[in-house]
Symmetry: C2
Subunit: 284 residues, 2 copies
């Protein structure tokens, strides 16, 4: 496994792999890897000849009051995990390698980025789109892997790829969960024992939504109200948003007719967590 | 020479060329080809194994009151010219092929795009960056060729490529001129005999700037004033801008010390023409 810290080094290795006609699978990450990441790496390993993982905590996708500084960093552990997964190349650049001081170009997706996390985190998806495009241009993967836990992000990236014709196939893989139901996330490292218990309310909320739809409830407002009550019952929890949206346009639905996404963002103490589930009114 | 109207068709042909390890040279155009374009095609032909020319009048880089509708279209003539130049592939897509109705992603360069044409034509460079990125992602060229006549455009594209790490080398080639000195431009087709005479004032202005610097003038204001007087003396001419700017940051210089660009945009009747010249204080 090669660790490349410069774009030049990555390009050299990728060029050699492409010369051998190898297909490139790519998993972009911010490090602090968990099984969710590793499931993407395994999918890449299974489907591609050459697997690249990037570890880069992208400053431009964090707001000024967000957790960029304290975001978990554990490169040595990440490295060991990726070695076990037989990753070929880890791209681990500095911020200075990725962004020149006079960088002046960005990519903005303006429709799917607008609601949900986009409204709570202005500039977030602009940062995501820009860094993902840069990584695609550096690594030139055939397939890139994203997790469904960041549902809006996956959809925004897919839209960007479509609109700008990036020659990359985007694959989205299911959220992995801890035994308790808590969605795996690098930010779970922020949670103490008590907060981990409180954080279960996210998955409980999604299970509740699923159950209500299964029982025939088709009014999103009623489901959302019940979820809100459940979350509010946790003293340490504060709702950012709870929505039931169209899986395509990410806009709230009036009535649950087909496949919808139940999406939520909840603060547990100061830690903002997100989760989601897709629910199909017709197949429950 | 293959004419491809769909992205799928282009990708298929490019894939085959790349399989044969051919280097791809790319000249993006809006058609209505003149010798300026052809000089870029010849440079591509000389340096690359496989030459692609796109002909696409990109609607998103025209303002609502600009000349998108009447922009010259002469595909059959363009095709003949490109056949003579032994171009391998012409990409000639429709607007619907390039932009889906629900396209929602764009690329913005915010520093070099700001002054000059960027200030007169809001949204123009956003449209340019977005379409150029799309074309790069569709054609995946090794080298792309741009003309110096659109100096700001060439610089903005170069910056975008740098900032987003596009794996493309940008080459900029000198402006070609008619015998009269008029810079070649597809928009010259709008000019009648009288207007062609009036339009010579652009080149006369640039020659004047060059002469003044050669004679030792280092104050941009004095040069600009003389140019303005010259242009105003033409009844049918109206100045959009006349500037002497740093070749790197495109911002006005206080004093001409090294290499500067004299850039201007002038309306001849209703037709907006641009031209520029690079002047080096030390080598004149």
């Amino acid at each position: 496994m090669v660790i490349a810290k410069t774009i030049k080094h990555v390009r050299k290795i990728i060029f050699a792999a492409k010369q051998k006609n190898k297909t490139i699978g790519f998993v972009p990450t911010m490090g602090a890897l968990h099984y969710g990441h590793l499931s993407l790496v395994r999918a890449a390993r299974k489907n591609c000849d050459f697997v690249v993982v990037s570890i880069f905590i992208n400053p431009t996708q964090f707001g000024p009051k967000e957790d960029f500084r304290k975001y978990p960093r554990q490169f040595n552990q990440d490295k060991r995990l990726l070695e076990i997964e037989k990753v070929d190349l880890v791209f681990y650049p500095s911020a200075a390698e990725m962004y020149l001081k006079d960088s002046s170009t960005y990519i903005k997706e303006v429709y799917l980025s607008e609601p949900l996390c986009g409204s709570t985190r202005p500039g977030h998806f602009r940062g995501v789109c820009t860094v993902v495009a840069k990584l695609f241009n550096i690594i030139e993967p055939d397939i890139a892997y994203f997790g469904q836990k960041d549902y809006q992000q996956a959809r925004v990236v897919k839209r960007m790829v479509r609109d700008l014709n990036f020659p990359v196939k985007i694959k989205i893989f299911p959220t992995l969960r801890e035994r308790s139901g808590l969605a795996m996330s690098s930010r779970n490292a922020y949670l103490d024992q008590k907060a981990r218990g409180d954080a279960l309310v996210l998955f409980e909320s999604l299970k509740l939504a699923k159950k209500l739809v299964k029982e025939g409830e088709r009014d999103p407002k009623k489901i959302i109200n019940k979820i809100r009550k459940l979350i509010i019952s946790i003293k340490n929890a504060k709702i950012d948003y709870v929505k039931i949206v169209d899986v395509e346009n990410l806009r709230p639905v009036d009535k649950i007719k087909a496949k919808v996404a139940v999406v939520l963002a909840v603060y547990i103490g100061k830690i903002r967590l997100i989760d989601n589930v897709l629910v199909d009114a017709n197949s429950n």
